[in-house]
Amino acid sequence: MRRFKTIIAGVATTALLAGAAISASHSDAIKARQDNMKARGANLGILGRMAQGQIDYDSVKAGEAAAALVALLSVDQSTFWPVGSAQGMVEGTRAKAEIWDNFADVGAMAGDLAAAADALSEVAAIDLASLQGAIGAVGGACGVCHKAYRGPKN
């Protein structure tokens, strides 16, 4: 009996440790993708405030922010989205479980975003009107994916 209890305790401890390890690795992945998204938002914010007239247009800063956005989108994201790191499964994420059922669709949306950001970075440093003309497509690409795959606030 004592031996049986020891085995049970051992199995339970292993399971707990494994669970903790899995959720720890997920929290790293979640942090990595959220940090990337926040950095995108920071650069888009510089461009957006210029486009809205909240801050003065500066062609150097606009070019840098657009280039940074392109760089953030080209980061290898293969470790950002482990299976099981969805809202409702782990804490601290708004990524909907549907992402993992429709990975190809998500990938296509990411491709559209990258194309819009490339187009923006080609013209952002030209003048304000060019920036204003290209930024809407980037914002739209963010929204399309968030509409389908981002859950409500936690």
Binding site: A42, G48, G143, H146, G151, P152, K153
Partner: protein, 296 residues
């Protein structure tokens, strides 16, 4: 035992009669509605403000396809799963075979042409405050939208919540014809109040609900859990939002927050509707949200 039989039967019958009276369907003023001269063009802005397509378009429909109100979207809640019905102009699968009055009565009173209560996943409790003119315009606009012959799916709601007659009691308990924002509020706030409290039914999500699904009006727009159990609807009263009028306007137009994050989930579709409104209407909504009582 025999002595108790008749008194028991009388009490039971009285109870049934009272239940029947309290839960019976109510109806829109027929002559008042008939007196309206409908304008379908104006109905489009009522349709956008009321967000009809957000629930009744096919799931994930975009662009022009959002005007095909074939239904099918699923709403998971603690009471079961509601599935948006087909309200396209199809005479069989949709509402094309209904009279104008039947459509109007469904929208404001939550009662079907067969005189059965609708579940309040359909926000008729806020649409009840819609003006007769807007209602008539909306009905005329709905008639012009394309038809879909896709049959409506039945709701998946469990006992006892599937007893539709009880919804008459729900309406009696939680239906309110008074405004939340009161006092001498001027034309912009009056318009904002109409948009927020009646057409756009913001509170349907952003106000917490009690165990029976009634809105907790003392926590108006104070946020609450998402019915799917995942995530929350945020508190959008001044205490929590902390946005300027320009911030709210930008969010309701492009979806960008002041931090240049974007809206997620259902709110993206709400913004798609809000972006179609007159700029003065978005201003009125922003003014309302800045003036509404804070919920801590």
């Amino acid at each position: 035992m025999k002595r108790l039989f008749w008194p028991f039967l009388v009490v039971l019958l009285i109870g049934l009669v009272v239940y029947g009276l309290l839960t019976r369907p109510t109806f829109l003023d027929r002559t008042g509605f008939a007196a309206q001269v409908a304008d379908a063009t104006k109905g489009k802005s009522v349709f956008d403000a009321a967000g009809c397509a957000s629930c009744h378009a096919a799931p994930m429909a975009t662009g022009e396809a959002r005007l095909i109100l074939s239904g099918g979207r699923r709403f998971i809640s603690p009471f079961g799963t509601f599935i948006a019905p087909n309200i396209s102009s199809d005479a069989v699968a949709g509402i094309g075979g209904w009279s104008d009055y039947e459509i109007a009565n469904a929208i404001t009173n939550g009662v079907s042409p067969q005189k059965r209560h609708y579940f309040p996943a359909f926000p008729y409790d806020t649409y009840a405050k819609m003006t007769m003119a807007d209602l008539a315009d909306l009905v005329a606009y709905l008639r012009q939208l394309p038809a879909s012959d896709l049959a409506s799916a039945p709701h998946d709601v469990s006992f006892p919540f599937n007893i539709r007659r009880n919804l008459g009691g729900w309406k009696l308990l939680f239906g309110r014809d008074d405004w939340v924002m009161t006092g001498d509020i001027g034309p912009e706030l009056t318009r904002g109040r109409y948009l927020v409290e009646a057409l756009a039914h913001c509170a349907a999500c952003h106000t917490p609900r009690n165990a029976l699904g009634g809105m907790q009006r003392d926590k108006w727009l104070g946020g609450g859990p998402h019915p799917s159990g995942k995530g929350r609807f945020p508190n959008i009263t001044p205490a929590a939002l902390g946005w300027s009028k320009a911030d709210i306007m930008e969010y309701l137009t492009s979806g960008f927050t002041p931090e240049f994050d974007t809206a997620g989930g259902e709110m993206v579709e709400v913004i798609e509707n809000m972006a179609l409104l007159d700029v003065t209407d978005r201003e009125a909504i922003a003014a309302y949200l800045l003036a509404v009582k804070s919920v801590e």
